[in-house]
């Protein structure tokens, strides 16, 4: 990436013009910190594309999109960075051109390897890492104490939905798929009963119709969650505002966006 000539303040005129509206919001210092940060983004489905877009537009120094999967026939039109005719290509690679075009001043890179195979040294080059993986420990909350039970009443049901989905993923090694809608729905309901039972919680907390929302990423939901998440990353990199503590749950039907503080006690 070519270093542009500095014109006052440590950023180039081009950057000052392009980032004007956000500099007016979070200030020049925050913008400079963003500009010095490298981010690793693992997983380039719908949600990943949203986050990539938001971070690239924000003007980070570099973004590495890591994904080992290939573009499936459903993907084009479900992920707006993938050009048509890319079925069969690696998802990250297929997203590269349109991602880079969002902001030529960002160094956008692609990595097609399996993240589990990466050495620790790989991760140290990044200032922030966005990974979609089970945050098991954070979710291992003991709900049996009195205090916990009281807190439970105020906890959004989305938390339990998340538990169900994670269990499905662990058991089946994949996410629910519309190809196997019938059997997957049954399994999801079964898991719901088991999970809620083991937590000592009534099944009514997560009504049955949750099932049909488990089968695909919905673009508008990706947009909402991707927007919130990307802004959290911007906050972390710019060190300007405190991040939310610590989980964000979004329910598209109710329009609720809830911040829950969850962790092992």
């Amino acid at each position: 990436m070519v270093e542009k000539e500095e014109v006052g303040g440590g950023i180039s005129e081009e950057e000052a013009a392009q980032y004007d509206r956000q500099i007016r919001l979070w200030g020049l210092e925050a913008q400079k910190r963003l500009r010095a940060s490298r981010v690793l983004l693992v997983g380039m489905k719908g949600l990943g594309a949203e986050i990539a877009k938001n971070l690239i537009l924000a003007g980070v120094k570099g973004l590495t999109m890591l994904d080992r999967e290939q573009v499936s026939p459903e993907d084009p039109g479900a992920q707006f960075l993938i050009r048509t005719g890319s079925v069969g290509r690696n998802r990250a690679e297929a997203s590269l051109e349109r991602a880079q075009n969002l902001n030529p001043m960002v160094d956008v890179k692609v990595d097609t390897e399996d993240i589990e195979r990466k050495p620790e040294s790989f991760f140290t080059q990044f200032d922030a890492k966005v990974v979609f993986c089970p945050v098991k420990e954070a979710l291992e909350v003991d709900w049996s104490s009195e205090k916990a039970k009281a807190a439970l009443k105020r906890t959004t049901s989305d938390y339990f939905l998340l538990q169900v989905l994670l269990k499905f993923r662990t058991d089946k090694g994949r996410d629910p798929s519309s190809d196997t809608y019938g059997e997957d729905s049954e399994l999801l309901l079964q898991i719901r009963n088991d999970v809620l039972d083991s937590l000592g919680v009534s099944p009514d907390l997560l009504p049955e119709d949750f099932v049909r929302y488990c089968f695909s990423e919905m673009a508008p939901v990706c947009a909402v969650v991707g927007g919130i998440l990307a802004q959290e990353i911007v906050k972390a990199l710019s060190q300007r505002d405190p991040p939310h503590n610590n989980f964000f749950f979004f329910d598209g039907m109710k329009g609720n966006g809830i911040v829950e503080c969850l962790g092992p006690k």
């Binding site: 919001l25 020049l28 109710k254 329009g255 809830i258």
Partner: protein, 633 residues
């Protein structure tokens, strides 16, 4: 149950089969267009009158640098086709307020979504959607905050059910005589730009108002002014722009003339500054210390602004000359010399009025009404718009909410806060089933032109009104077709002739029906809800009020005067109340006025004391926009 992108079949079919309209292709519009396409909407109309600017690129992600200058709607469409060629998008590089987009046009859509940034367009789309009975999703963002809501005729409030806070305006005398905040100086500088290079507007007077008692003129200043006006000939007869042209926009002469509008002793020193600008050899900003912020964020010294003033005038003069005879420049915050002009003029004025000067960066924000904007807020709101839209198309409008995006979670841990939608306001003059407004006119004073421009078009924001008299013959008073009723409009004679014709009702139709009646004066009352105004008085009456106060006036009012005063909008910039009302009426029997209770008078006197003096005076000075005319809810 088969699913398409997570949607149940029926909904997926409605989504794929129906046509939707997106109004605006900017920050929200780009995100919204992308979401709609990815959710399966196949027929999307997209309209935007704007072209792409480099400052859009931090969030309007469908645009790249190479597209700067091109139509937003057009480029957005092209960009989407790259990842979804099957999308059927119709792009209009046009204003939604163009009458071509009539009720029939709106009826084609199963859903309309606004992605706008101004109230006029929002009002307009609101009315069109009500008239066409199409659900509308309204939204907006600013910085980290945003909101979404649903508008459906008969089910929810419309956009205009409750008055929105009016935009901050400043009284004429604050701008002209007594600025106390930087924004006053900035507004003044913009007015000055228009006086010199742009469309001259009588509401944008920059010279000091001599009638203002606070304008204490020093004798020496008064003399100098007199001399100047003699030297320059009869200034009053030619416009500022013509005068400036005649002197070749000489910055020194300009400053000297304008100097008197700057109004304070320092003027002479300013004059020397401008004189000496030719002698400067150093580059303006040669500082050895590294700058902490952007170049534009530096605050320069007075000399630099004096130099910038004269330099920008020269550039603007050339631009204006290049455009030919009778041309005008339109102020644009992204035009460097226009921005330089306002920056320097505003700062010089700030300095004279003992305010700390501001950087170009800050002045640009204020002068250009810039709202900071980022991609993520727009992304979230646009996602919510589609989700609300899906609820509507599923027949579940009862599940729709107004959703607010906050910066921090509220005490109930919510960052996104849904609120129930309110039912329509039965008294809303826009969406009520039989919308009716009574307008009382002083038919001795009001012309048909005023009725059209000030009442129907301005106050009620109707775009192309037709006004018909319900006299059984359907006599047309005002026609939206050009030329049809020109003759009536330009008649100076007032409405008395109309009054003969009106047996009570005049029918105005644009997209909504109104009733206007001239009605007999009210019985005299002095009701005070808030602050009062003198709107509706003729010049001599105003004089009287000025001298004697409202009570004195009331005792002296002449028999036979018929008028009503009612404040239509907020006068004080900071006031939150709308439609403060004082109805003062005099009837033939002026003794009625003594009926006004002592209590009322003393209450009003207390109000006077509390009032900001400047503001009160400003109401007197403010150009009366509706002489003798008022509107009632």
């Amino acid at each position: 149950m088969a699913l398409s992108r997570g949607l149940p079949r029926e909904l997926a079919e409605a989504v794929a089969g129906g046509r939707v309209l997106v109004v605006g292709a900017g920050g929200i519009g780009c995100e919204l267009l992308k979401n709609l396409v990815l959710t399966g909407f196949s027929h999307i109309d997209l309209i935007d009158l704007d072209t792409i600017d480099v400052s859009n690129l931090n969030r309007q992600f469908l645009f790249q640098k190479k597209h700067v200058g091109r139509s937003k709607a057009q480029v957005a469409k092209e960009s989407v086709l790259q990842f979804y060629p099957k999308a059927n998008i119709v792009a209009y590089h046009d204003s939604i307020m163009n009458p071509d987009y009539n009720v029939e046009f709106f009826r084609q859509f199963i859903l309309v979504m606004n992605a706008l940034d101004n109230r006029a367009a929002r009002n307009h789309v609101n009315r069109m959607c009500l008239a066409a009975d199409v659900p509308l999703i309204e939204s907006g963002t600013a910085g980290y905050l945003g909101q979404v809501t649903t508008i459906k005729k008969g089910v929810t409030e419309c956009y205009e059910c409750h008055p929105k806070p009016t935009q901050r305006t400043f009284p004429g005398c604050t701008i002209r005589n007594t600025p106390s905040e930087p924004i006053h100086c900035i507004v003044w500088a913009k007015y000055l730009f228009n006086q010199l290079f742009g469309e001259e507007d009588a509401d944008q007077e920059v010279s000091p108002d001599r009638a203002d008692p606070e304008a204490a003129w020093e004798p020496t200043e008064a003399e100098a002014r007199a001399r100047a006006s003699n030297e320059d000939g009869d200034i009053k007869r030619i416009s500022t722009k013509e005068w400036a042209k005649s002197t070749g926009y000489d910055p020194v002469k300009l400053f000297t003339k304008v100097r008197f509008t700057f109004f304070i002793i320092v003027g002479r020193w300013m004059y020397c500054c401008v004189q000496s600008q030719g002698e400067e050899t150093n580059a303006p900003d040669q500082q050895n210390e590294p700058q902490l912020g952007l170049k534009d964020q530096q605050v320069l010294d007075v000399k630099s602004y004096a130099r910038l003033f004269s330099k920008s005038i020269e550039t603007l003069r050339v631009h204006l000359a290049e455009k030919g005879d009778g041309a005008e420049l339109i102020w644009d915050k992204d035009d460097p010399s226009a921005m330089d002009f306002v920056t320097s003029a505003a700062n010089l004025r700030m300095h004279i009025f003992s305010m700390n000067m501001k950087s170009r960066f800050d002045i640009k924000s204020m002068a250009g009404n810039i709202i900071p904007a980022i991609a993520t807020t727009n992304a979230v709101i646009a996602g919510l718009i589609v989700l609300e839209g899906l609820k509507i198309l599923s027949g579940k409008i009862d599940q729709c909410r107004t959703i607010f995006l906050n910066k921090q979670p509220n005490p109930r841990k919510k960052l996104l806060v849904p609120c129930a939608l309110d039912p329509p306001n039965p008294n809303c003059y826009v969406c009520a089933s039989k919308p009716e407004v009574t307008v009382r006119l002083n038919v001795h004073k009001v012309t048909v032109l005023t009725l059209q421009d000030k009442i129907v078009k301005e106050k009620f924001a109707m775009v192309a009104p037709d006004v018909q008299i319900e006299d059984g013959k359907g006599t047309i008073l005002i026609s939206s077709e050009e030329g049809e009723t020109e003759g009536i409009l330009h008649c100076i004679h007032s409405l008395p002739s109309l009054r003969r014709l009106i047996k009570g009702r005049v029918h105005i139709s644009g997209s909504i029906y109104w009733y206007v009646s001239s009605s007999p004066p009210l019985t005299p009352t002095l009701q005070r809800k808030g602050q009062y105004c003198h709107q509706g008085l003729n010049e001599s009456s105003r004089e009287l009020v000025r001298e004697e106060g409202i009570e004195g006036f009331l005792t002296k009012v002449e028999a036979g005067d018929r008028f009503e005063i009612r404040k239509v909008r907020t006068w004080i910039p900071e006031a939150q109340e709308q439609d403060d009302v004082l109805i003062v009426d005099s009837d033939e029997d002026s003794s009625n006025n003594t009926d006004v209770s002592e209590e009322e008078r003393s209450r009003k006197r207390k109000l006077d004391e509390k009032e900001n003096l400047g503001a009160k005076r400003s109401r007197i000075e403010q150009k009366e926009e509706l002489d003798d005319v008022i509107a009632l809810d």
